[in-house]
């Protein structure tokens, strides 16, 4: 009966937020218990777009399964693919050419900026400002065009193959990336002017949804969400992969753990990514863009785990091979899933408007959670 009336016995309202709701950015379903405007409990119900990519991958070859990961966290598709390719390379003990490594990192950082830019617009929209969303798309579009030119697709690139990248970068790549760097440097202060400095935005985010360092670790939060709480969990620093150990960049660590801090960490990260791109764009070494591989890949028996830092955090591929043509078992550790588990803890006691702001700052991508 309680379910039917939609109130608890304490007289609190039970509301379904989603699966179709403007603030969930996808088909996330939250059942929230409201006491007036105050949120008492949030209970995520997942699975609306669960495609069981893990099961699918068990019947795909080592070349084929990579494409499916683009469909998980579609905003950092490139970085997901990187993790998969790395897991296979670990198994095959493949040496990836230097040029391919640099291209991978370059594309990865461009993807990260594209993802953060979109998040910036979406977060502002969650809080009620519509204009930033369109401004964000201006810069995102430039990155998408670069991707389209070099990788052949805008969102689900599938540019990674085990041993390197699918094709060499486009001749226009240098020029367009430089144009982007110039444009982005000019526009970033505008972002701050429009949103960061805005007093309403600050009031909406400061001190809202505080996640302490201990809780962030315990909940397995990673990426900007974890770092805003003071956890140094940037995989690029703590367990460097690719050529990140040779690059000069900072791990942005916040202190407050509130929504504003998560916002600032992402804004700073965009600048760091830009810094990485600037370092690399003129120093792409000559050479092969792909290592020589056999037509049919057979990963030796064993277990391989590769971790990368996607735009949302610690993405892991746990690959169990029995030596066959297909993986025996694949587990994708998605950052969104762990971050979402901290949502209930963070939101309790906040207002319903804060729920939206906090969800925006967690930067949830639902296919990443549902896999």
């Amino acid at each position: 009966m309680v379910e039917e009336i939609g109130t608890t016995d304490k007289g609190e309202l039970i509301i379904n937020v989603g699966p179709q709701h403007p603030a969930t950015h996808g088909v996330l379903h939250l059942v929230i218990t409201l006491d007036g405007e105050t949120v008492r409990k949030v209970e995520p119900h997942l699975g609306y777009i669960h495609r069981s990519i893990e099961k699918m991958s068990e019947s795909l070859s080592y070349r084929q399964f990579i494409y499916a990961t683009s469909r998980m966290d579609y905003l950092s598709a490139h970085i997901n693919n990187h993790a998969c390719a790395m897991a296979v390379e670990k198994g095959l003990q493949l040496e990836v050419p230097e040029r391919a490594q640099v291209i991978r990192v370059l594309m990865g950082e461009l993807t990260r900026i594209a993802s953060h830019v979109l998040w910036w617009g979406a977060m502002a929209m969650d809080i009620g400002a519509f204009t930033p969303f369109f401004h964000a798309f201006r810069e995102r579009e430039m990155i998408n065009d670069i991707m389209e030119e070099s990788c052949g697709a805008r969102l689900t690139m599938n540019y990674m193959v085990p041993g390197g990248v699918m094709y060499d970068i486009h001749p226009n790549f240098h020029r367009r990336v430089k144009e982007f760097i110039a444009q982005f440097k000019r526009k970033l202060p505008e972002y701050d002017e429009l949103v960061t400095g805005n007093t309403i935005f600050r009031a909406r985010t400061r001190g809202v949804g505080v996640l302490s360092k201990e809780d962030a670790i315990s909940y397995g939060c990673s990426g900007p969400t974890g770092r805003a709480s003071g956890v140094d969990c940037d995989i690029r620093k703590v367990q460097p992969y690719g050529i990140y150990d040779r690059l000069d960049f900072q791990q942005i660590i916040g202190t407050e753990g509130d929504t504003y801090s998560r916002y600032l960490v992402r804004m700073q990260e965009m600048r760091q990514s830009l810094h990485i791109i600037e370092q690399l764009i003129d120093n792409i070494p000559e050479g092969d863009f792909q290592a020589k591989t056999k037509a049919v890949l057979k990963v030796p028996k064993g277990e391989y785990y590769s971790r990368v830092e996607t735009a949302r955090g610690d993405f892991g591929v746990y690959l169990v091979s029995e030596g066959g043509l297909t993986p025996y078992r694949i587990k994708y550790r998605s950052p969104g899933f762990s971050n979402l588990s901290a949502l209930d803890h963070t939101v309790r006691g906040q207002k319903i408007g804060d729920l939206v702001a906090i969800m925006g700052s967690f930067d949830l991508v639902i296919p990443d959670i549902d896999r």
Binding site: L60, R63, Y67, R71, E149, G152, T156, A295
Partner: protein, 158 residues
């Protein structure tokens, strides 16, 4: 002092709001910054990069010849079962029976444009086209046969 703090708070808040309004006001008055593309009016001038993956097509020469030997490498490479190569046996000039492609069935509705088939193809028979307007009213229209009727295998392709 309470009052000075009170008023400086207000001044700061108003200042930050005005900054934002200056930003939007700038874009309101500078229409050159508008980035809208007038699709589909700009179809004629729309240039897609040559690597853009729109759909799989088979290249045919002017003599209606293609390069597909029917080896099914693409079919094996495809993660979604998008491609189905139906082969037949053809008797060639020397009287030998030889495997050749009968129908190259391509399910666009299943395709994820991952490019793995193109990479797998040993004879460069198929490539990605830059078309992207794929919407049709009936799903069956998306199942295509890529080799043209009566097309032949190009000379010298093994």
């Amino acid at each position: 002092m309470f009052l000075t703090r009170y008023f400086s708070e207000i001044a700061e808040a108003v200042g930050s709001l005005l900054k934002g309004m200056r930003m939007t006001g700038y874009y309101f008055t500078h229409h050159k910054e508008i980035i809208t593309q007038q699709y589909p009016d700009n179809r004629a001038t729309l240039v897609l990069p040559e690597r853009f993956r729109g759909e799989v097509v088979m290249t045919h020469t002017d003599n209606n010849e293609h390069r597909c030997t029917g080896c099914t490498a693409c079919e094996l490479a495809c993660p979604n079962g998008t491609i189905k190569v139906v082969t037949k046996f053809e008797v060639n000039a020397e009287g030998k029976k030889k495997k050749a492609v009968d129908k190259f069935v391509y399910h666009l509705e299943l395709c994820t444009m991952c490019n793995l088939c193109i990479e797998a193809c040993p004879t460069d028979a198929i490539r990605m086209a830059q078309t992207f307007e794929h919407s049709v009213y009936d799903r069956s229209q998306l199942t295509r046969i890529l080799n043209k009727p009566d097309s032949k295998l190009q000379e010298g392709v093994e």
